[in-house]
């Protein structure tokens, strides 16, 4: 089991450009979460999918962030018109059924730097 895989590990964009981040959850896990990690805020919840369906995107900045899960083996987080304040580590996590009493399995994250 390779664990949760996130690509790329690092991404540098210019202000106003688009960034797409990829996540492959653990096979058999039905829940996928995206988090943003910064020194100041710690781990911020962005969005949650269960069985590929979007359940909660309350943490997503509405205008420029979007997430999809087109199949059970991958999810994407897209940031349009990136801004310097979007610079952070974006973490994807999966769990077996999605209840928060279960262990979350995290990927190593994508470090996004917006110049």
């Amino acid at each position: 089991n390779a664990g949760v895989i996130q690509t790329p590990r690092h991404k540098v964009t210019g202000k106003g450009q688009e960034a797409t981040l990829w996540c492959e959850p653990i096979s058999g896990h039905s829940a996928v979460f995206w988090y943003r990690q910064t020194i100041v805020q710690g781990l911020e919840f962005l969005t949650y999918f269960r069985n590929q369906a979007p359940i909660d995107d309350s943490g997503m900045p509405k205008e420029r962030f979007s997430a999809q899960m087109p199949n059970q083996s991958h999810s994407t987080l897209k940031i349009q018109s990136t801004q310097p304040q979007d610079s952070a580590v974006y973490l994807c996590a999966s769990s077996r059924t999605g209840t928060s009493a279960e262990t979350l399995y995290f990927g190593s994250g994508t470090r996004l730097t917006v110049l």
Binding site: G3, V4, A31, F33, Q41, G42, L43, F45, Y48, R50, I55, D56, L91, G98, T99, S100, A101, E102, T103, L104, Y105, F106, G107, S108, G109
Partner: protein, 113 residues
């Protein structure tokens, strides 16, 4: 609302000495579970400890924590810190009736030689 508080942003300890990372919580979740996640530099956060039983000590990799519902706490302790323990530690809680994990802001542990 539901919250997890980690009072220290940074804890520095000398190798071989005991260390304690504080975690307290407020929650309306039913049937709650508590976690400590550890994140080493440039790695993924991973679960270190998990507990859902009041007053029961849980141990792993030399660390231990005991859930105390009476004081709403789940502090992480180790009797002898190692250089390899230097990492970012998150306290978190979840519930069987919810999907959103509540994380604390994290505590950086720096172990000095």
């Amino acid at each position: 609302g539901d919250s997890v508080t980690q009072t220290e942003g940074l804890v520095t300890v000398t190798e071989g000495l005991p260390v304690k990372l504080n975690c307290t919580y407020q929650t309306t979740y039913l049937t709650i579970a508590f976690f400590w996640y550890v994140q080493y530099l440039n790695e993924a956060p991973q679960v270190l400890l998990k507990s859902s039983t009041d007053n029961k000590r849980t141990e792993h990799q030399g660390f231990h924590a005991t859930l105390h519902k009476s004081s709403s706490s789940f502090h992480l302790q180790k009797s002898s810190a190692q250089l390899s323990d230097s990492a970012l530690y998150y306290c978190a809680l979840g519930g069987t009736n919810a999907y959103k994990v509540i994380f604390g802001k994290g505590t950086h542990l720096h172990v000095l030689p």
